[in-house]
Amino acid sequence: MACAAHPALAQSDSATAKPPAAATPPAAASTPTAPKPAVDQCYACHSEQETPAATTYKNDVHRTVGVTCAGCHGGDPTTDDQDAAMSKAKGFVGVPKKDQIPAMCGKCHGPGENAYKSRYKLDDAFGDFKESVHGHALAGNPKGPQCISCHGVHEIARVADARSPVHPTHVVETCAKCHSDAAYMRDFSPTLPVDQKEKYLTSVHGKRHAMGDPKVATCVSCHSNHRIFQAKDPRANVYPTNVPKTCAHCHGDAKYMAGYGIPTNQYSDYVQSVHGKALLVKTDLNAPACNSCHGNHGAAPPGVSSVIAVCGRCHQMNQELYERSAHRAVFEGKKLPGCVVCHGNHNVQPASDRIVSFEPQSPCARCHVNTPADKAAPDIRRLHLVLDSLSTGQTAALAVLDRAENLGMDVSDARYSLKDVNQSAVQARVSIHSFKVKEVEEAARPGIAIIAQARTAGQEAIHEYGFRRQGLAVSTLIVTFLVIMLWLKIRDIEKKQKEKGR
C-alpha cells in the first residue's frame, strides 16, 4: 500500500512497492549506522502528515547526524510503500516496548563497535545502564526507568544542549520527575526518601544552581549518569568510602573551584584526619565522610551554632559535657564554632593528652596564659597532669611487666587488666569537655588504680623471680651437700667392707 497522504510518494509506489530483497537487505535497512538514503521516506511521509514524532524528530541530534527513523524503528527508509517500508521482513519493529528501548539505543550506545561510536566517541551507556540500579529496576518492572525517561524521545539533544532534559540546568528536574514521586518510587524502593530535590534546593549547590551556575553540582555530579548504584553498593560514587573522592572531584580541584572563594584542601586534610583514616584505611563505615557533617542532598557547611550538634551526633557525651561547660557561653559570645576551635574541622587529629596544656600547639594556649593572672591556668596544668599520669603510668607499668616477662614470669593477668586503663583514659578525655578538674579526676581514678595494681604485680613477679633463684640455690646446695655426704658414706661403707673382706 502506498502512502496515501503524499501523491508524490504514492506515484512512486509502483517503483518501490516490492523491491528485490537482495537490493535492500532488511538488516541493513534497520541499522542506525546504515548509509543514509537519499530520501528518508519514513521521515518524509510522517513530516508531511505532521505526526508529533516527525515534528519533534526534526531537531533531534540523531537526525542531524544521519540516523533515519528506521535506525531505531527498523523497516526500509528507501521506499515510500508503507507495507514495504514497515514490513517485518525488513526488521520493522514499530513502537518498541519500554523495556526494549535500552537495547535499541544500545545498538549505537552499547558495547559493540560501529561508525557512530568511534566518530562521536560514544561510551557504553547501555552496558552501564544495565548494571545500574535503574537497569535492575527496569529488569524487574517494565515501568522502570529507561533511556527516554531522562533523554526524551524524538527531540533528543546533546547533554551540553540547553534543550536537553539532562543538561545541567534541567537534570535536577528530570531526576525529580521520578524521585519526587512517592507513588511511583513505592514500586521500586518504598523506603527511599523522595525529598532529595527539596533538600537540594536548600543546599549551597541547589541555591547556586537556581541562580543559573552551570558548574555547580547536580544529581549526576555525585551519582554519575548511567552507572548509578544504591548508596550501599561499594561501586557507587556515594558509597561511604567513595564519598570523599566524589566530593573532592570538584572541591579538590583548585582550578574548577576558582572564583568560589573556598579552600580546596578539604580532601587532603580529611585523609590525614582521624575520621579519614578510620573510614578510608580501617574501612570503618561508621566513620564520618563529608556528607555525615555537611549533609548530602542538602549539603552546606554547618553554621557556627550547629557545629556542636553535628559533632554531637557521634560524640554525644562530649556534646553534653561541653554544653554545660563554661566554654560554651564564651565561645557563643565570640561567635566561635564550638568543637572546631580546639579540634579543627577537616583535619581532626586524635586528641592527645597534650591538647590540654600550655604547649605551643595546644588550643588552650591560644586563649590562656600560664601565669597567676589567668585563673584557668592551675586547672589546665592539673588536667594535663591527670591525663598524663594515665599514659605515662601505663607505659611505666608495661615496662615493669615487660621486665618481669623477660625474666620468664607470667604476668598475663596484670597485662590484661591494663587494657581497662584505656577505658578510663577515654572517659577522662571525654570528661575534659566539662573543663572541671574534679570530673576528670573521677574518670581517671579507676585507671590510675589499675596501673598501680599492675605495677605492683610486676614488681612482685620480679621479686618472686629472685626468690625462686634464691630458693633454687639453697635447695641445690642442700641436695649437693646430701650427695657429697652420701658419697662419703658409700666410700666409708665400701672401705669397711674391703677391710672386713681382707
Partner: protein
C-alpha cells in the same frame, strides 16, 4: 604359731614392725642380692632413674590434680591458675613436665643399654616385653598429657598426631575417632585424654611396672656376655644393699638437682589458649620423642607400591616396633656361641636413625 610369737626380735622401730610383719625374708633377700660390677655397671642405674622420675611424676601429677579442671573452657585457665596463683604451682607443673621428658629420655637410655648388653636374652625375655610395654605406656602418657593444658601447640599437635593414624586403610578412621572421642579434637577428646592420663594409664603402668620390678628382683641383674669366659672367682659383685641402693639414691639426688635447675631456669611455657577455629600456627611438631617418626614420614614419597607413602611408613614403623619388641625371639648366639654382632649393628643403626631424624625435625 605365727612369726610374731617365736624367734628373736629386735627393739625399736624395726622390732615394732617385725612384731607385726616379718621383714626377715626381705632383709635376707636384699643382703644376699649381688649386682655385677664391670665397666658397663653404670647403665644399671637408668632403670632406677626412670623409676625415680616416674615417682616424681606421680607425686607432682597428684598435686596438679588438686587444681586442674578438664574442659575446653577450664583446662587452660586452671593450668594458668596453677602456674600464676597457686603457691609453688609453677614449680610443680614445671617439674611434672620436665620429669616427663627426662623420664622418656631415661627410659630410652635404659632400653638401649639393655639391648646392647643383650640383657633381654633368656631368661629375661619377660622383663624385656614388660619394659617395652612400659615404654609404649610412657609414650601414651606423654601424648595424652601434652593435650591437657589445652594450648595452641598441644591442640594442633594432637590434631596432627591423631590424623596420622587415620591414614591407615580400614581401621584408621575408627581408631582416630576412638582417640578423639569424635570426628575432631574437642573437649570430648580432652576429657578422654584426661581419663586415660590420670586413671587408666597409671593403673596399667603400676601393674606392669610391678611385674617388671619383680622380674628384675627375682632374676637379678644381667651379667655381661663377656663373663662367660671369666672364671667364677674373678667376677666382681657389689652388694645390692646398701651399696647399690645408696648409689641409686645418690644418682636420684643428682637428677633431682637437675630437675630443679631445669624447672627454675627453663620453666615449661604455657603458651596461648587453643583456638580450634583459628588457623594452625606454623611449625607444628610433636614432642621430641615422636619427632624422628614424624620427620621420617615426610621423606616417604606420595605413592609407594600402589599405597600412600604415609601408610607404607606407618606400616614399616609398626613392623619395626614389632621386631624390636620380639628381639628375644630372633636374636641368637652365633654358631660358635659368640656375641651376635649383627644385632649390635642394628641397634647402632636404630640409634643413629633416631638421632639424625630428630635433629632434622628440630631444625
Amino acid at each position: 604359731m605365727t612369726h610374731t610369737e617365736g624367734g628373736k626380735r629386735g627393739g625399736g622401730i624395726r622390732g615394732w614392725i617385725e612384731e607385726r610383719f616379718n621383714l626377715a625374708p626381705a632383709i635376707e633377700f636384699a643382703s644376699h642380692k649381688q649386682v655385677p660390677e664391670w665397666k658397663g655397671s653404670f647403665w644399671y642405674y637408668f632403670g632406677g632413674v626412670s623409676l625415680f622420675l616416674f615417682i616424681v611424676q606421680v607425686a607432682t601429677g597428684i598435686l596438679l590434680l588438686m587444681y586442674y579442671q578438664p574442659g575446653d573452657k577450664t583446662a587452660f585457665e586452671s593450668v594458668r591458675f596453677i602456674v600464676t596463683k597457686v603457691k609453688f604451682g609453677w614449680l610443680i607443673r614445671s617439674i611434672h613436665s620436665w620429669a616427663a621428658n627426662l623420664f622418656i629420655l631415661s627410659v630410652f637410655i635404659h632400653m638401649f643399654s639393655v639391648y646392647f648388653t643383650k640383657a633381654f636374652r633368656r631368661p629375661r625375655e619377660l622383663t624385656w616385653y614388660s619394659g617395652f610395654i612400659l615404654l609404649g605406656l610412657a609414650f601414651a602418657f606423654g601424648f595424652s598429657g601434652y593435650l591437657l593444658p589445652w594450648n595452641t601447640l598441644a591442640y594442633f599437635a594432637t590434631k596432627v598426631g591423631t590424623t596420622i593414624v587415620a591414614v591407615l586403610p580400614g581401621l584408621g578412621e575408627p581408631i582416630m575417632e576412638l582417640l578423639r572421642a569424635g570426628k575432631d579434637v574437642s573437649t570430648a577428646t580432652l576429657t578422654r585424654f584426661y581419663g586415660l592420663h590420670v586413671a587408666i594409664f597409671p593403673a596399667l603402668f603400676t601393674v606392669i611396672l610391678g611385674v617388671h620390678l619383680m622380674l628384675i628382683q627375682t632374676q637379678g641383674m644381667h651379667e655381661p656376655e663377656s663373663w662367660d669366659q671369666v672364671p667364677q672367682g674373678k667376677r666382681r659383685y657389689m652388694p645390692f644393699f646398701p651399696n647399690f641402693v645408696l648409689r641409686d639414691l645418690l644418682l636420684w639426688l643428682i637428677v633431682l638437682n637437675v630437675l630443679a635447675i631445669l624447672a627454675v631456669w627453663f620453666p615449661w611455657e604455657l603458651g596461648k589458649k587453643a583456638e580450634p577455629f583459628a588457623a594452625a600456627p606454623g611449625g607444628i611438631k610433636p614432642e621430641w620423642y615422636f619427632l624422628f617418626m614424624y620427620q621420617a614420614l615426610k621423606y616417604f614419597p606420595a605413592k609407594l607400591a600402589g599405597l600412600d607413602g604415609e601408610v607404607v611408613g606407618i606400616i614399616l614403623f609398626g613392623i619395626a616396633g614389632l621386631l624390636w619388641f620380639l628381639v628375644p625371639l630372633w636374636d641368637s648366639h652365633t654358631p660358635g656361641g659368640m656375641r651376635n654382632r649383627v644385632n649390635t649393628y642394628v641397634g647402632i643403626l636404630v640409634v643413629l636413625f633416631m638421632i639424625i631424624f630428630t635433629a632434622l625435625g628440630v631444625k
